[in-house]
Symmetry: C2
Subunit: 366 residues, 2 copies
């Protein structure tokens, strides 16, 4: 069923772009056509997505007289590396793609991040379009222009702010998403509620079972509301000099978990869920949240079938890993904490002892 998509606009002057959200958008390649400079695209996807969507998507584009090149990468966070990025560059150069050829990211967050960074840097910048096929990518990573690859010493350490020309979120593609990835995406949806929208948090609590059952109406609403939040924050602070950092709730802890366990062990959304519980614990021990608030944070992640017990890595190892965070300023770690449910802030003012206690008391073996 193809319906008229909903549109959310990201307002960034001459770099503004629309997010189209709807069912069956992958079957409507004409939606992309007005955004192409050349009738030529290169599609970056992975070995999981390619067998499901690539042929259908490519055929649709070719029916619009658009020449396509497919670049299929290995799947997973462990491949978000220089080496994989260079596969993209090699293929683009071999096929003589030009700086007006459009790069299309067809896949989840990893594909979007690598493809976006490739687009930002191939011939000093080529146009690109995000076609996110996971919930996490549709509600968060495909919007806002953050692109990156990982470095052994830290996640997303090498990258660029580079906006797409269009985001095309086909909600039908969630039909094939594994349950575990659906939950991981919901972690980032819950984030918007926790940092800036208590009413949405309440709605999520009331509708979690519908989301897990992939009720189309519930998913469409959750995606739309998330994109509206993301677009608003990005328009206000594109390069993360202030408010945008709040979208990183749970992420400093989460990145340490991902990096400490080895990329790909936990999904990003899983690490964010457990990391957000740590941020809530710290907020509570600093007197900002009640125990009941923390319980509510734990419960909503748990209801989304997400892990709420961060792994025990050792306090020193956590602090070392967290020290590579991009928000560190003049040697001082900065964290996103909650002053209340629905209200986050960024601060370097937290007792180091209390942080160490949280990293010790609230982490668990195996």
């Amino acid at each position: 069923m193809n319906t008229t998509p909903s549109t959310v606009r990201v307002s960034l002057g001459d770099r503004s772009y629309p997010i189209l959200i709807g069912e069956g958008l992958l079957d409507q390649p004409r939606l992309l056509v007005p955004h192409l400079i050349q009738k030529r695209v290169a599609i970056v996807t992975n070995t999981t997505i390619a067998p499901i969507y690539l042929e259908q998507f490519t055929r649709g584009l070719e029916a619009e007289a658009i020449q396509t090149l497919a670049i299929t990468l290995p799947d997973g966070e462990a491949f978000k590396t220089w080496e994989t990025l260079n596969i993209v560059f090699d293929r683009l150069l071999e096929a003589r793609c030009e700086r007006n050829t459009t790069l299309i990211a067809l896949g989840g967050g990893v594909i979007g991040d690598i493809c976006g960074f490739a687009a930002a840097t191939y011939q000093r910048g080529m146009p690109f379009i995000q076609v996110p096929t996971t919930l996490l990518a549709q509600v968060d990573s495909s919007v806002g222009g953050k692109t990156a690859i990982n470095h052994p010493l830290g996640k997303n350490m090498i990258g660029a702010f580079y906006q797409p020309k269009l985001v095309l979120a086909d909600t039908s593609s969630l039909d094939t998403l594994p349950d575990r990835e659906l939950s991981a995406g919901i972690a980032e949806v819950i984030k918007y509620g926790l940092i800036r929208d208590l009413a949405f948090l309440q709605w999520l609590e009331d509708n979690m079972s519908r989301l897990l059952a992939r009720d189309r109406g519930a998913l469409a609403y959750a995606i739309l509301r998330s994109c509206e939040h993301k677009a608003e924050v990005v328009a206000a602070d594109e390069r993360e000099s202030g408010e945008r950092a709040l979208l990183n709730l749970g992420h400093t802890f989460g990145h340490a978990i991902e990096s400490g366990l080895g990329y790909g062990e936990w999904l990003h959304g899983e690490a964010v869920a457990a990391g957000t519980v740590l941020a809530a614990e710290l907020s509570a021990r600093m007197g900002m949240l009640t125990e009941s608030d923390v319980g509510r944070v734990r419960r909503i992640f748990e209801s989304a079938r997400l892990p709420i017990r961060a792994p025990k890595l050792g306090v020193a190892r956590y602090l070392e890993l967290m020290g590579h965070d991009k928000k560190v300023d003049a040697g001082r770690l900065r964290l996103v904490l909650l002053r209340a449910l629905g209200s986050a802030f960024l601060t370097a003012q937290f007792p180091e002892d209390t942080l160490a206690e949280v990293l010790s008391d609230c982490t668990f073996d195996g």
Copy 2:
């Protein structure tokens, strides 16, 4: 002798910055201080420059209470690669440099390009300052925000437009520049005359012996005039959608020469000189320049002790290498040609046969 520097401003809205040109600027680190966010910098340089300037420069900064980290790379175009770039990332991460730490490029064009690209992408962008120590970098590559590394299939294929916060051109650093590199820098100075300033071309013809003798007054004037031209062009067309492409006179041929012979065999400026002669030959065969004009182009490069005979790579190989140029659009090669001395234009309209003839007739063995 420390004199008050001349200033040229690059006007790019909130990304505007000054170019300071003068003698002894490396001994005046206080010129940098107002442009630093943190009292911490990382200096990227190479094994040739480090023994001459690094200690003096570092000591000066430390006297201003600025913490420094030095990253010394191997010297030469052959090292403008992923591998070298990763050395910079590794060192920045190991030393926990932050996104407000300033990266300083102390060296020639290769250092400026690698360091600028590292700054553009480390933690999605950190501030950087250009301290060019070669004539080529002072008159061209340090200004305007083009950063890049090479790919085996093409020069400067991976990069970003990323402006520095400041360019500090110490003309005293040219005292230690090898003659061959001085000449290579003059190639880019001549370029400004050929593409947009006939009077400057005339001045260069009249003053070439002073430049080669490193007359300080003549060099200072040539650098200032070149930076004024570069700043004007970049302000009008930062991302090379039009006029900026004219700065690439001789470069499509030149890049093919550099790539065809292996990076580092010829200096960039040498390849540009021989490449510009090819562009002039093609312009003449298309009826735009007279034979006397072409002779004048040859003579000025020759008087600067630059090669004017492009190597014989074979027509097919030239065309293949030139086909990787970033100006290729919809499969069509575009070249900067001369409609007269002092007036360049970008075009895809040239007879392919004539180009092939030029690549055959005007190239030479050994």
